[in-house]
């Protein structure tokens, strides 16, 4: 199964491009200290608002900080926001979906109505409401986004589990005396992973955009953190005199999210047996 999936995935040029983009982002994040030529935070008032040049590949901002260095360090915050928010969403959502589908009855009813209520809110507004409670900040923004995306996982896992739990091997495991927890984790969850993997990839991209959006609104990362959304927001005051300040962080967000979206689309095609071309 894994071999077929990998073979299918390798057939997708878009998927490979997505993988390559994310690999570059990962390298930039891991080796930021070696790749970035300047400090992302130290101000240098002799170098303010310089255009792109050999010294400053993407120019400098109003405090004389090198935009390229800030973008390189920003990959860490982008990946962190994607992974942490996605992790929170996946953890909460899968737990709720699994419990609802496995136990059924009132559990299922209560959890799914809660999911309905949360899905009635526009994502960003629910995240903003959560931030109203937790207070602005990068980590709080990530938690808020995680909570917002949890219902999607709950729905997806619930529908998979509902069909999987009727399989004979689950009945067999139960007959052999396996505990609920063991059945849920070992026999059901592993078999319901394919749609969750696809969702996790696409949600990571969406979470990066949302986190950058909250940073842009001033509700996420706070200055001087080199977070792309906040950097873009800071560039709005210099759109005419120094357009590069707002341009490059946006390009970085779009490229990273594009990587996740291309990878997610290719994984969906590779993991869906009905779409396989022979």
């Amino acid at each position: 199964m894994l071999a077929i999936t990998i073979k299918q995935f390798l057939r997708s040029k878009a998927g490979i491009v997505g993988f390559a983009i994310l690999f570059i982002v990962l390298i930039l994040a891991a080796f930021a200290a070696y790749i970035a030529p300047y400090s992302p935070i130290d101000q240098n008032f002799t170098q303010q608002l310089l255009g792109p040049s050999a010294h400053h590949f993407m120019g400098t901002d109003r405090y004389g900080r090198d935009i390229f260095s800030r973008i390189v360090y920003g990959t860490r915050y982008a990946l962190l926001s994607g992974l942490l928010a996605d992790g929170v969403a996946l953890g909460i959502g899968c737990l709720l979906g699994l419990i609802g589908a496995f136990y059924g009855g009132w559990w299922d009813f209560a959890i799914m109505r809660g999911v309905d209520v949360m899905m009635a809110f526009p994502y960003l507004l629910l995240a903003m409401l959560t931030i109203a409670i937790l207070g602005p900040g990068l980590i709080n923004a990530m938690i808020a986004i995680g909570i917002v995306y949890a219902p999607q996982y709950a729905r997806i896992l619930r529908s998979s589990v509902l069909s999987i739990k009727e399989n004979d091997y689950v009945t067999a495991a139960r007959a052999m005396g396996a505990s609920d927890l063991r059945i849920m984790l070992q026999h059901i969850s592993l078999n319901a992973m394919a749609p969750i993997i696809v969702q996790a990839t696409l949600t990571a991209g969406a979470a990066i955009i949302e986190a950058a959006g909250l940073g842009f609104l001033g509700l996420g990362a706070q200055p001087p953190t080199p977070e792309w959304g906040a950097m873009l927001s800071g560039g709005r005051d210099f759109m005419l005199s120094a357009p590069w300040i707002a341009t490059f962080p946006g390009l970085a967000i779009a490229a990273t999210v594009l990587g996740f979206n291309l990878l997610g689309d290719a994984l969906r095609d590779a993991l869906d047996p009905t779409l396989h071309r022979h």
């Binding site: 009635a120 507004l125 959006g213 609104l217 509700l219 759109m239 946006g250 779009a254 999210v257 594009l258």
Partner: protein
């Protein structure tokens, strides 16, 4: 059909109650004391206790929720801490800008996405199809606030084709009738103002419409491709009907059904995008109100805003479901 609509409306009641409960609990767990915030740091203990009693904050939580529900039903959320205006009227004043912006955005996205999706499906794997679908993935990946900033830099600041910010230019006078600037200009026959408001809406509309445009185009393409592979389409072709007629008369009508749903479901996305787009273009809609009220901890406004927005999304989703059932009789089970 009526039975279906009634069933759907009844099913909404627990969701609406859940929404009010969530907003109530969220506001209840906000750190800090509302009474202390209202009186200010200098207020004495007795004053705070008195105000807490007046606001009902010393009552059991279920009584407070009951009061909150009562206020929500009558649209009375109290006065804004910032401006001392009624929170409901502030939200109602901001909504028209957001709705007009969303309307322009969805109109723009439909006008481009549907023909583009059709051409991409009919000419599958052609250069046009590849470019379009590549563009659509890019459209989904671009943050709306960046698209907005780029459009503003090019078309407002460099080329001066469109106004920079706001919804109406300073020199233009417009009498308020409905609160919807476009509609007010039409009603009063003020064509100069109509053109001005429209020009203010073009760039934010394009920025906000980019994401739904990408989603709708992809949906239109895949839906039409699926229908084009169906037996009845092959039968129509086998009968010798011209390809154009097969596509327009036989395939397109059925292919449009899922597209209708996707268009309707974009409303929630549009409101999220509108919050960011309005911030970029400094438009006085709910987005700006949401950001300022959260930053200033203006809870009556936050409550009113979140509740009204969620209500709007729920109602629009209901309308989409009902219209879908109307278009496709198989839905009415």
């Amino acid at each position: 059909m009526l039975e279906y609509i009634i069933k759907r409306v009844v099913a909404l009641i627990p969701v609406l109650l859940g929404i009010t409960l969530l907003v109530f609990l969220a506001m209840h767990f906000v750190p800090g004391d509302v009474a202390q915030t209202l009186i200010g740091e200098k207020g004495g203990h007795e004053e705070v206790v008195k105000l807490r009693h007046e606001l009902g904050l010393d009552r059991p939580i279920y009584v407070q929720y009951g009061l909150f529900l009562e206020h929500a039903m009558t649209g009375n959320f109290g006065l804004s801490y910032q401006t001392l205006e009624p929170a409901t009227s502030m939200v109602m004043g901001a909504f028209p800008v957001t709705i007009q912006l969303s309307f322009v955005a969805i109109l723009f996205s439909i006008l481009i996405a549907i023909p583009a999706g059709i051409i991409a499906a009919v000419r599958q794997y052609s250069v046009f199809d590849n470019v379009l679908m590549g563009g659509a993935v890019l459209g989904i990946s671009m943050p709306v606030f960046w698209t907005g900033v780029l459009l503003m830099m090019l078309f407002s600041l460099r080329l001066h084709w469109f106004p920079f910010t706001g919804i109406v230019s300073n020199g233009i006078s417009l009498r308020t009738v409905t609160g919807f600037q476009l509609l007010d200009a039409l009603i009063t026959g003020n064509w100069r103002a109509f053109g001005d408001v429209l020009r203010h809406l073009v760039l934010p509309g394009i920025a906000l419409g980019a994401l739904p445009m990408a989603i709708i185009a992809r949906m239109m393409r895949s839906s039409l491709l699926e229908v084009l592979g169906k037996d009845y389409v092959n039968t129509a072709r086998a009968k010798g009907i011209r390809e154009r007629v097969v596509i327009w008369k036989h395939a397109l009508r059925n292919a449009l059904l899922p597209v209708v749903t996707v268009v309707g479901l974009q409303f929630g996305n549009l409101l999220c995008g509108a919050i960011l787009t309005e911030t970029v273009f400094a438009m006085p809609g709910i987005g700006r109100l949401a950001v300022t009220s959260i930053l200033f901890r203006d809870y009556p406004v936050v409550e009113a805003l979140v509740l009204f927005t969620a209500l709007a999304v729920v109602v629009v989703n209901l309308l989409v479901d009902v219209s879908y059932a109307y278009v496709d009789p198989r839905i009415r089970y």
